[in-house]
C-alpha cells in the first residue's frame, strides 16, 4: 500500500513534504551516501579525533593531548622536508606526464599503421598494477643483473652504485618510474577529446593554407584544453597522494630522501608507532589538498567541463 502511494502521490512527515520523485531519487543514491559516509566522512572525523590524542599503536589507549600533535607536526623538520619533497614529486611527475601523455595521444591519433595494436598496448599499461611496475624497476636497476643499471648506469656512466640508494637521484628515479604508467591517464583523456574533433575542421583549415602548427594551435588545442585541465588537476592530486610507487620502491629511503607526505604519515604511524601523530599528518595533508583543490577550481574554473 505504502509503495503504491509513494509511486502515486508522495507523502508528508509534519511540515516536510516528500514527493515520489524525491523519495525514489533519494533511495537510489542512498548506497552511495552510505559508502561515502562509512569510508570518507567517518574516517576523516575519526582521524581528527585521533589527531588530538596520543595513541601508541600496539596498545591503543587514547590519552587526550589537545593540539600538541599538531604543534609537534609543524615543528618536525622532516615534516617540512617531506612537504617540499612531496611538492617536488607532484610537480615533476605532473609536468612530465602531461607532456608525454599528450605527445602519445597526438601520435596515436595520427598514426597510419598499427594504430589499433599500439593503442591497446598503451591502454593496457594503465591496467598493469603499480606494484609490478615497481618490481620490474627494482629488477632493471639491480646493481648486478639489472639491464638499465648495467647498460645506462655503468655503460653510459650516468650513475654509480645503486641508483635508488643515491640520495640525490632516488627522487627523479621515482618520478620516472611513476611516469611510465601514469602518462597513459593523460593520453586516455586527451585521445577521447581528439577523436571527437570532426575531420572537416582540419580539411577547411588545410584549404585555407594553415600549417600543422597552426592547426594544432587553433583547432586541436582549444578542443582538448578543458579536458586536459581536469586531467592535470586530477593527476596533481593523485601524485601528491601517491603512496604505492615510492613505498614499494624505496620505503621512503635512502634515509628520508624520498619520503613524501603520505610516506611520512605511514612511517610515523606504523614504524614510529605514533597513531595520533600519523593521523595529525594525514589531517594536515587533507586540509592542504582541500585548499589547493578549491583554489584550483576557483581560479581555472574547469567546472564548465564537469557541469551537466
Amino acid at each position: 500500500m505504502l509503495g503504491r502511494r509513494l509511486i502515486g502521490e508522495g507523502f508528508s512527515i509534519g511540515p516536510i513534504t516528500i514527493s515520489p520523485d524525491g523519495f525514489w531519487g533519494f533511495l537510489t543514491v542512498l548506497p552511495v551516501i552510505c559508502l561515502y559516509t562509512l569510508i570518507a566522512v567517518v574516517p576523516i572525523g575519526f582521524a581528527f579525533a585521533a589527531s588530538l590524542h596520543e595513541i601508541p599503536l600496539m596498545n591503543p589507549t587514547w590519552s587526550f593531548v589537545g593540539t600538541s600533535n599538531y604543534v609537534e607536526v609543524f615543528n618536525l623538520d622532516r615534516f617540512w622536508a617531506s612537504m617540499w619533497r612531496g611538492v617536488y614529486y607532484m610537480i615533476g611527475s605532473t609536468i612530465l606526464q602531461t607532456i608525454i601523455g599528450v605527445w602519445i595521444a597526438l601520435t596515436l591519433n595520427k598514426m597510419e599503421f598499427g594504430q589499433r595494436i599500439l593503442s591497446s598496448v598503451i591502454f593496457s599499461i594503465y591496467m598493469i598494477p603499480t606494484i609490478i611496475v615497481v618490481l620490474l624497476a627494482l629488477f632493471l636497476l639491480d646493481p648486478f643483473i639489472g639491464f638499465v643499471h648495467v647498460y645506462f648506469g655503468e655503460g653510459l656512466g650516468l650513475w654509480e652504485n645503486y641508483l635508488l640508494g643515491n640520495t640525490e637521484l632516488a627522487m627523479p628515479a621515482a618520478i620516472l618510474v611513476g611516469t611510465w604508467k601514469f602518462s597513459v591517464f593523460i593520453t586516455i583523456f586527451t585521445l577521447a577529446q581528439l577523436r571527437s574533433i570532426p575531420d572537416h575542421f582540419y580539411e577547411a583549415a588545410k584549404i585555407c593554407g594553415a600549417n600543422t602548427w597552426e592547426m594544432f594551435r587553433d583547432i586541436t588545442f582549444p578542443r582538448i584544453r578543458g579536458a586536459l585541465l581536469v586531467a592535470v588537476f586530477l593527476r596533481s592530486i593523485f601524485m601528491f597522494n601517491k603512496f604505492d610507487v615510492i613505498y614499494p620502491l624505496t620505503q621512503g629511503g635512502p634515509g628520508y630522501a624520498t619520503t613524501t607526505m603520505p610516506i611520512l604519515a605511514y612511517r610515523e604511524t606504523f614504524q614510529g608507532s605514533a597513531y595520533g601523530l600519523g593521523n595529525a599528518i594525514a589531517m594536515v595533508m587533507f586540509v592542504f589538498l582541500a585548499i589547493g583543490g578549491i583554489l584550483y577550481l576557483w581560479a581555472l574554473n574547469p567546472d564548465e567541463e564537469v557541469d551537466t
Partner: protein, 290 residues
C-alpha cells in the same frame, strides 16, 4: 588584378617536404613510444621463462633452449603467491559487483528523478577525489579493527568501492542522460511498471557504461596497494601487491625470475581486458566524463 599566386598562403618550404617531415615525425614518435611501451613487458615475459642461474650469470635478451624453463611458474604457484593471487581475485570480483550495482542505481536515479540536494551531488562527488587513500586508510585501520573488519575481504571491498564512486557514479549519470527518456515512457504507456522499463530498456543501452565502470573497478581493485597494505596486515589475508612486496623484502630464497613469473600472471588479465574492451573504455570517456 589577377594573381598567379595559389589560393591561400605560401610557405617557403614546399608542401611535399612539409608533409614528408610531418609523416616522418609521426613515424619516429610511434616507434619511440612503441619501444618504451613494449620493452618492460617483453623484459618481464622473457625473464619469466629463464632458469635462475641464467638470470644471475649475465643479461641475455631471450632464453636459449638450455636456459628455457617453466620452473619459475611452478615455484610461484606452489608458494604463498598463489594465495595472494586468489585473495586479489576475490577482492576484485567483489568490488566490481558492488561498484556496478551501486553506480547503476545512483546513475539512473540522478538522471531520472528530481530531488532536493541533487545539484550538490556533483560537487560532493568531485570532492571525493581529494581523499588520499593514505588519509582514509590510517583511520580505517583502527575503525575496522573495532568493527572486526580488519583482515576481511569485505572491509577492503567497501573501501575500494568507495574510492571508485566519484568516477563511476559520474560516468553512469552522464551516460543515463544520453539515453532518451521517451523510450522508457513508451513502455510505461503500454503498461510496463517502472522496474520492467529499467531492466528491458535502460539496462541494455547502458551496457557501454556498465563495462567501462566494471573495467575501472577492476583496475582500482587489482592495482590497490595502499589499502590492502594497511587493512590486510595478516599474511594469509593479504592480496598480491602488498604480499609480493613482503616476500621481496623478506628472506624468502628467491630470484627476480620468480617475481617476473608472478608479474606475468598478474598482467595477463588486464592485458586481455584492455585489448578486448578498449572501445567501451573510450566510449565511456567520450561522454565527457571526468
Amino acid at each position: 588584378m589577377t594573381s598567379d599566386r595559389p589560393f591561400g598562403r605560401e610557405s617557403i618550404i614546399p608542401y611535399n617536404y612539409r608533409r614528408a617531415t610531418y609523416r616522418a615525425g609521426i613515424a619516429v614518435s610511434s616507434v619511440i613510444i612503441a619501444i618504451f611501451a613494449i620493452f618492460p613487458m617483453y623484459w618481464i615475459a622473457q625473464n619469466a621463462f629463464k632458469t635462475r642461474s641464467a638470470i644471475n650469470d649475465s643479461i641475455t635478451f631471450l632464453p636459449t633452449p638450455s636456459t628455457f624453463t617453466f620452473a619459475r611458474f611452478e615455484v610461484v604457484l606452489s608458494s604463498r603467491v598463489l594465495n595472494y593471487i586468489i585473495n586479489s581475485l576475490i577482492v576484485t570480483a567483489g568490488t566490481i559487483v558492488l561498484v556496478v550495482l551501486v553506480s547503476l542505481l545512483a546513475g539512473y536515479g540522478l538522471a531520472r528523478f528530481e530531488f532536493r540536494g541533487k545539484s550538490y551531488f556533483a560537487r560532493v562527488l568531485l570532492f571525493g577525489y581529494m581523499f588520499a587513500p593514505i588519509v582514509l586508510a590510517l583511520p580505517l585501520y583502527l575503525i575496522w579493527n573495532r568493527l572486526g573488519l580488519l583482515n576481511t575481504y569485505l572491509g577492503l571491498i567497501f573501501a575500494l568501492s568507495a574510492l571508485t564512486l566519484p568516477f563511476t557514479v559520474w560516468l553512469m549519470w552522464k551516460f543515463m542522460q544520453s539515453i532518451p527518456k521517451s523510450l522508457e515512457e513508451s513502455a510505461w504507456i503500454q503498461g510496463a511498471p517502472r522496474w520492467r522499463g529499467f531492466i528491458d530498456i535502460v539496462l541494455p543501452q547502458a551496457k557501454p557504461a556498465l563495462i567501462a565502470n566494471a573495467l575501472f573497478a577492476f583496475a582500482i581493485a587489482w592495482n590497490d596497494f595502499t589499502f590492502a597494505q594497511i587493512l590486510l596486515p595478516r599474511e594469509e589475508a593479504t592480496t598480491f601487491p602488498p604480499g609480493v612486496l613482503r616476500l621481496l623484502n623478506s628472506q624468502w630464497e628467491t630470484g627476480y625470475g620468480d617475481f617476473m613469473a608472478a608479474a606475468l600472471l598478474m598482467i595477463i588479465p588486464p592485458l586481455l581486458f584492455a585489448y578486448f574492451l578498449q572501445s567501451y573504455l573510450l566510449q565511456g570517456f567520450e561522454v565527457r566524463s571526468i
